[in-house]
Amino acid sequence: MGQPFHTAVRDFLDGRIWLRRHTPFPKDIIDRHIQEGFIQTIPGIQTNTTVLNQTHHTCNRCENNDPTRFTTFHCAKCEGTCTYCRKCLKMGRISSCTELILWRGEPVSFSIQHALAWQGTLTSSQQQAADDMIDSTNKGRSHLIHAVCGSGKTEMLFPPIHELLLAGKRVCLAAPRVDVILELEPRLKAAFPETSIEALYGGTELTKQAAQLVLATTHQLYRFRHTFDAVFVDEADAFPYTADQTLRQAVQKAAKPGTPVHYVTATPSEELLSTMKKTGSISTINRRYHGYPLPVPRYETLWNYEKQIKKGKLPQKLIVWTSARLKKREPFLLFFHHIGLMEQALPLLQALDGRIRSVHAAHPDRKEHVQALRNEQLPGLLTTTILERGITIPNIQVAVVGAEQKIFNKGALIQIGGRVGRSVNFPAGDFVLFHNGITYAMDDAKREIERLNEGGIGK
């Protein structure tokens, strides 16, 4: 004892921005900590009135300030006009009369004992990128690792993360998609066996510990404020991160002021590239860790495929391609742009093999089906773009049905192709784009892959 505050309360709250009425502690304990100044309270919604007498709201948790994402109503609790944020509603409603709390007492001090148990070795270019990132961290500068799919991006992050942990710093590894976090969690836990690690995504149980290394979906970072000494964003170009301004703000907010936010991706957006050129630094890796080239897409026409599938007829070329995979016992992924079309194609493909399944973002068995494909219990999956990144299955063969669709932009096509040939035992594989007309995105993706294979640096 001897502490004037509960260490459990501190461990939970330090770094977080939390709803006062939703903590895992009894109300009187929280109240006492507030009275004694260990916890600061702030209003949930900041409302300012402009010169023209217009009101302007900002959510103090997610920093949303888009007027269309607020709703004002007559509140029975505060008996007045109350405004709430619809942006982060699913994390518990924040309104004008709710209070957020922040830890203001003595901060948690973190361990400086951390083993790096990863047994592999980095190639010289991986090592260079890792060293560059450490250098950038020390200078408080953001860093981008622009590395092709299958170049061992996660492993490159081990040295910079380890360095920070050894200095007793708190680190966050964030990604826009749950799938990526789920794949990273066991790898990071194996690599840092002595470190307290917590993975946060929608639906995880609340833990009260203060984890030194936090893995989180970018959404979860709404709940942190000035917490981390460095934030690493994996797959920084994935939806919804690029499309959502507040998610990018959330990442910045989660980092302590003046500390760097690092990015890792195979397909950085033009915007990210130009910002990093101006204000940060970039490492580029255009070879896969096994040294083989990236699979170059081939084009196959598939005229009027939507009409045919809707009529209940599977286009001949798809029958031939899928049958070949089944015969050779090669696992495969068929990408579709639309769930409805995919579900119509599913029974037609199941006529070739009844074990074929489909997955999409809201599919209840999504995790199980992907695992079954890994375990070779399924011959192949139909999927939307949710499986475009983060998954590694040896000898996987990939086809895109309707590659001309808008959703398959350059980045998506490069990521999809990046699923192929990742394993050193199967460094090649088929990457076919079935299309109803060739788009600029298809040509751009193909050209970029060819340029990377020639050793050129991505534009």
Binding site: F73, A76, K77, R93, S95
Partner: protein, 200 residues
């Protein structure tokens, strides 16, 4: 920029004649979300309660809707069924929402049935008062039937010999609606009908 209230997708705006004339109804949902609700229009008749009209089936989409509306307290969702409720209720002369207990109302920050009516621009009368904070959904059928009266008449409420229409979100066993109808009839209502959004 308008987004679907449920899935946050941007709503497509096609130019239409109605839009040009300014008589187009305001859209709150995208086509996919809007089609996920199953219209049922079940009408059941009885003695105490003369008739109950339930507008929708209680499917997965509806369950999620109510979770977001009541549990996550997303008052904005009251707009979703405003048009449908209005078209059923606009002709009724005396609309009575099922009330919430004052404590419960403060906890939720709004009375969900009243908000539905407010969004639908249906005038209503607060004639009933809830006597306990007990929640119907947590009780078995036997427990519900054995309960003490759920409602009493509001002080100074005057009941005329006319038709009253009580409104609630969900019609399950009918305990709530029957008890409300009983109170109104005892006080002199000629006929009591009910409209609920869903039939479970």
């Amino acid at each position: 920029m308008t987004r679907c209230l449920l899935c946050e997708q941007q709503l497509e705006r096609r130019p239409t004649w109605q839009g040009l004339l300014g008589i187009q109804k305001k859209q709150h949902l995208c086509e996919i979300c809007s089609n996920s609700f199953q219209r049922a229009d079940i009408i059941e008749e009885g003695n105490l309660l003369d008739s109950v009209h339930s507008l929708y089936e209680y499917n997965e989409a509806m369950r999620e809707f109510f979770h977001q509306y009541k549990f996550l307290q997303d008052v904005a969702l009251a707009d979703v069924f405003a048009g449908e409720l209005r078209s059923v209720l606009k002709e009724k002369i005396a609309v009575v929402p099922i009330p919430m207990h004052p404590d419960k109302r403060i906890e939720r920050t709004f009375a969900h049935v009243e908000e539905l009516l407010r969004s639908a621009v249906v005038p209503f009368l607060l004639l009933l008062e809830k006597t306990s904070t007990e929640v119907m959904g947590e009780k078995t059928r036997e427990e519900r039937l054995a309960m003490k009266p759920l409602f009493i008449l509001q002080k100074h409420a005057v009941i005329e010999p006319i038709t009253y229409t009580i409104v609630d979100d969900i019609y399950t066993t009918g305990t709530t609606l029957n008890q409300a109808a009983f109170v109104l009839k005892e006080a002199g209502a000629k006929r009591v009908e009910a409209v609920t959004l869903i039939r479970a």
